[in-house]
Amino acid sequence: MATQTSSLDLSRSAGVEAPGMPALHMWIFAGLLLFGLVAPYILYPVFVMKVLCFALFACAFNLLLGFGGLLSFGHAAYFGSASYVSAHAAKVWGLTPELAILTGTLAAAGLGLAIGSLAIRRQGIYFAMVTLAFAQMVFFFSIQAPFTGGEDGIQSVPRGHLFGLISMAPDRNLYFFVLAVVFIGLLVIYRIIHSPFGQVLKGIRDNEPRMVSLGYRTRRYKLAVFVLSAALAGVAGATKAIVFQLASLTDVYWTMSGEVVLMTLLGGMGTVFGPILGAAVIVTMQNYLATFGDWVTIGQGIIFVVAVMLFREGIVGVLARIIRRPL
């Protein structure tokens, strides 16, 4: 893919530049955290929580696509199944929110391991199709399985008490918990990208035979990043189930897989911060253009076409090129 060459230069130089976090990135993270802390006082907290969940989902997806070079077209499977498991755990088993999210995450990781170990045997379009096929299986499972509630989904999931102590019912309490979960998730992704493991991944992405000839067992690396990405997507899905108090077929449907691709490409594939921005743009559009009906989906389509035609590196990718720094 043509887009990979440009993002590759950026991320490669990021790896060479410094072993720790470059000052610029530190400032951006600090800015994001600061914004996250004041956001619930300016914006509607539930809306910001939705943005946060999708930001983590897009970043998890970007870990696989932008840094592993693997285009999965079935990430809704991990996002959605984690949200079902987390909702079920909180509602039926009565687990506290943090344990419910953990259970959902483990389920997504397990599913990622099962699907990933089969899917990574193929490359390119075949890989994408295999992941899509498995995701559709998960979708049909979700329609049929008794515990998912079919097309009604799992409704009235209790928000519960954090560690059994702090009530999550007020939006602001829940907000800061979600902010912490998502922010830790983002830092984990950042750490993965800039670890030696991440460097090997980029090597595999750019030239797999070369890495094989250097003695790396590339399949293991690909499987590892697949499972990591699925698990982090699971964190996002499980958290979303607690926020909205429901898990539904929307989360496992293939359009959700498409939306996360859109968010990642729009924000900037292979950049650290791009998917966050992409998720924010798409979710904001869905939220504030809800009044205009059809225009939400038409607007998304137009934006996607414009992004592909005019700035393939995505918004943050273009910014990074302008300031000549990796973002």
Binding site: Y44, V46, E151, D152, Q155, K240, T250, A290
Partner: protein, 397 residues
């Protein structure tokens, strides 16, 4: 969200009428599908219906009404996000319509949590007045129990003794088949077979041939939306109704029939609780509705009008918009509107009124583009809906 010119008009009216009354400002949010498969039967038409209710209620009673609307895209998370935002930050008092059962159940929970009022017209699930009933919800127009019993019971009474089901293979389809089978058997009919079709499906030919070969008098379509449309089109290609079998649609709306055309849909039997051509009042209202939207109203849009009107009457009677008092009033006061006639809102939130078994006309008998149905039977209000005691609603035990 979209502000209508109505508030301006009502304010102007108030200035002229003087300020003799204490002011109550009511904000009604019409939340439905404005871009997907239910956009025709709900959508903008429901918002128009809510505005018409406000206009017909009158501006001289000390109540100003603002109508806002939004698209939930049939996604429960989008719907619940909008509902929360409306209640928390935009001062919405009432959410109306809300098709798609999953979204309706989510809004049902949120409305209860925030202590507001939910006037559902668009959703089918009978759980809203059953196991998940809420003191803050009124379910106005129809539900799955009513559809199954209306079509099933009345068809058997009309001579359709043997049934074969085409069932969409997911919970909704299974529930519809189960409920209708029970009714058919109880009424003295017999279910001689059924086949599950993949959901969502496009090719129903082999299933329809199976249904045809079964020799059943009635083929029941336990499906919805695109599945219903596709299976009906293909049934028309096989000439199933012309060959003497009846097709019963369990969830079909007048707009679907209008879109399919009489050539395809003729002979289909279905249940609705409202049709524009029932009497002079419905014809008069529907003509006004058509002027504004270019279409005849669906029963859901009619339900939005009637439920908003009843709500406004209750607000007037109580003299405030306090949700508890208004809900109590809505349940205490008998309903009376031009579209559904007289009825009641029961303790479990279920609104009851007559339902009708219709048969789709042959093209030759139709006098206009919207002249689609002939009435086969009228199901009285007390028979049309699930008895209060059977729903398992905690509010009535």
């Amino acid at each position: 969200m979209r502000k209508t010119g109505f508030i301006v008009a009502s304010l102007a009216g108030l200035l002229m009428a003087g300020t003799a009354f204490a002011q109550t400002a009511v904000k009604i949010g019409v939340l439905n599908d404005r871009s997907g498969i239910y956009a025709d039967i709900t959508g903008e038409g429901s918002a128009v219906a809510a505005q018409m209710a406000a206009e017909d209620f009158g501006t001289d009673k000390g109540i100003t009404v603002e109508v806002v609307s939004a698209d939930h895209q049939n996604k429960p998370d989008v719907g619940s996000n909008i509902a929360r935002q409306w209640y928390d930050t935009e001062g919405v008092d009432v959410i109306a319509d809300v098709p798609t059962s999953s979204v309706a159940l989510a809004v049902n929970d949120i409305t209860r949590e925030k202590n507001k009022i939910f006037l559902n017209s668009g959703a089918a699930t009978s759980d809203l007045t059953g196991s998940k009933c809420s003191p803050n919800t009124v379910h106005w127009t129809y539900d799955t129990w009513q559809l199954a019993h209306g079509t099933g019971g009345a068809m058997v009474a009309a001579g359709g003794k043997t049934w074969f089901f085409l069932t969409a293979d997911y919970a909704f389809g299974h529930a519809l088949e189960r409920d209708t089978s029970a009714v058919v058997t109880a009424a003295g009919g017999e279910v001689i077979g059924s086949v599950k079709t993949p959901f969502p499906g496009t090719d129903f030919s082999s299933f329809l041939l199976q249904a045809q070969a079964s020799g059943a008098q009635v083929i029941g379509l336990a499906n919805a939306g695109g599945d219903t449309v596709n299976s009906m089109k293909q049934a028309a290609e096989f000439g199933i109704t012309q060959a003497g079998q009846s097709i019963a649609g369990l969830l079909v709306f007048v707009n679907d029939i209008h879109a399919l055309g009489l050539d395809v849909a003729q002979g289909l039997v279905l249940t609705e609780t409202f049709y524009w051509d029932l009497n002079d009042k419905t014809r008069e209202w529907s003509a006004r509705f058509e002027e504004k939207t270019g279409k005849k109203p669906s029963m859901i849009q009619a339900g939005v009008y009637a439920s908003v009107l009843h709500y406004l009457k209750a607000v007037e009677a109580v003299g405030s918009k306090d949700p508890e008092a208004v809900m109590a009033k809505m349940k205490e006061m008998p309903t009376d509107d031009p579209l559904f006639g007289q009825g009641v809102v029961r303790a479990d939130g279920r609104k009851t009124h007559d339902a009708y078994l219709f048969r789709v006309k042959k093209p030759a008998d139709s006098k206009g583009p919207w002249d689609l149905y002939e009435t086969v039977a009228t199901i009285p209000a007390d028979k049309a809906f699930r008895p209060l005691a059977d729903g398992g609603c905690p509010l009535v035990q």
